[in-house]
């Protein structure tokens, strides 16, 4: 049993590297994400209710819903946490004294190992699949409904939209370059079930990916990417998104060198947990929306 959901939401940081990195992407999804933290504050903001007794009732019901394993909320949270925890070796400790000042990337390079393109491709695709599966768990639709997911992507807002924006920027554009869609597609086509088996992140989330065997799971991963690439490409085009635009914003608090983009990607990888952070916020929101309707 993990921590109570109200504690997880209460303990979401108001300011850390994850929050700074996401705020740097505000220009892509203006005003969508304001880092809502705190369980009661989330209830008040989501429902517009301020009466303490009503807030308590909604909170109690949300806690009951979360703790009922049959309802899928815990699986969704586990996915969001697990996909992020795989690579947070250099975490808060190394950066504890860096809040408010520019982080010199050079100083961390000896501690960073850029990922090979294949590992980065798998990372990107697994994060995407986690989003599909967590979406289905939270919203109560069958776990392999990629179609339903893609339809609802157009309706994504708030922290969910920010999560997708960060996925495109931090896990696709920066590490894989502007042609990440074609590159990922090509890599996926040449990926064998064995390659997937050898990937540490995959082995952690494998049990919740649809498909009864690794080849079938690989097919599901390919299908997921194929269905979402249109949305990703549209997002890039709509925003006239380039690597320079994103590094320009990150450059406000990280000393970035354009020749070291793989290190920047690795740095973001190990110092942020944006999937877990915004995933917890999405989950809290859905729980509260349901609780407020059921009480």
């Amino acid at each position: 049993m993990s921590k109570p959901i109200f504690e997880l939401v209460d303990e979401l940081p108001e300011q850390n590297m994850t929050v700074r990195a996401l705020k740097a992407l505000d220009f892509l999804v203006p005003g969508e994400w304001n880092n809502l933290v705190g369980f009661k504050e989330t209830i008040r903001t989501v429902t517009g209710e301020t009466d303490p007794e009503l807030v308590k009732q909604i909170g109690d019901r949300a806690i009951w819903l979360f703790n009922d394993k049959s309802e899928g909320y815990q699986r969704a949270l586990w996915l969001y946490q697990t996909i992020d925890s795989a690579d947070s070796a250099l975490g808060a400790a190394a950066l504890a004294n860096k809040v408010g000042e520019k982080v010199p990337l050079l100083g961390f390079m000896s501690k960073l190992t850029p990922k090979a393109d294949q590992a980065q491709t798998i990372d990107l695709c697994l994060k995407l699949v986690v989003e599909v599966v967590a979406f289905c768990q939270i919203n109560g639709i069958p776990g392999d409904s990629i179609g339903d997911f893609v339809k609802s992507l157009a309706d994504y807002s708030g922290e969910s939209l920010m999560r997708m924006a960060a996925l495109v920027c931090f896990d696709a554009l920066i590490p894989l370059g502007p042609d990440f869609i074609q590159g990922t597609q090509a890599k996926l086509n040449s990926l064998s079930p064995q390659d997937l088996e050898n990937n540490a992140v995959f082995s952690q989330v494998k049990q919740l990916i649809p498909g009864q065997s690794t080849p079938k799971q690989l097919a599901f991963i390919g299908e997921s990417f194929d269905s979402v690439k249109g949305w990703m490409g549209g997002f890039v085009n709509r925003n006239d998104l380039s690597v320079a635009k994103v590094t320009g914003k990150l450059g406000q608090f990280i000393e970035v060198s354009d020749s070291k983009l793989d290190y920047l990607a690795a740095f973001l990888d190990v110092t942020t947990n944006y999937y877990e952070h915004t995933g917890t916020q999405t989950l809290a929101r859905r729980l509260i929306e349901r609780a407020a309707a059921e009480i």
Binding site: E49, D60, I295
Partner: protein, 168 residues
């Protein structure tokens, strides 16, 4: 001897203080956490209808309104009501077998809508209880969406059809 005793007491006091600081402070949600993690505790009833069976009783929005289905869980369905792309309200049907306490506010209310008990809740919610079984609710998400709007949208649900879904 005396100073050493003091020193020991002082150290113990500091230790006690420090350890008490590390534990999370009690929360008003501790009780719900404890109750809902007892063995056998469940947030939903085995006999609740499936969420998918509730969708057909939602209103059919016209003109510039859109209904975007959000959650479909055991005994529960929820959709967002959007007007020109902006979310103005949340509509839901909940099988109160999941949460029987929800019926109390309707028992306490003298108002009705289309023959079903009606109750307002908080500043943003209004609901009806259909066949003592299904709580149909509209919650405002935009300030412009008033209590009157909520009642209008409640009337657009197929409440009588929903009543017929009630089974033992």
């Amino acid at each position: 001897m005396m100073p050493r005793t003091w020193f020991t007491s002082f150290c113990l006091a500091v230790l006690l203080f420090l350890t008490s600081c590390t534990a999370a402070p009690p929360s008003e949600f501790d009780q719900a956490q404890q109750d809902s993690t007892q063995s056998g505790a469940a947030a939903v009833a085995d006999t609740a209808v499936s969420g998918g069976s509730l969708n057909e009783y939602f209103p059919q929005p016209a003109e510039d309104y859109d209904l975007v289905y959000a959650q479909e869980k055991t005994g529960f369905a929820q959709a967002k009501l959007k007007q020109a792309g902006t979310e103005v309200a949340v509509l839901s049907i909940a099988d109160i077998r999941n949460n029987p306490d929800a019926a109390q506010k309707y028992a306490d209310s003298a108002e009705t809508l289309a023959g079903y008990p009606l109750a307002a809740q908080g500043n943003t919610g209004t609901g009806v209880l259909v066949a003592d079984r299904f709580q149909v609710k509209v919650q405002s998400r935009a300030e412009s969406f008033t209590e009157g709007d909520r009642q209008d949208w409640l009337e657009q649900f197929n409440l009588d059809g929903l009543a017929a879904l009630d089974s033992p």
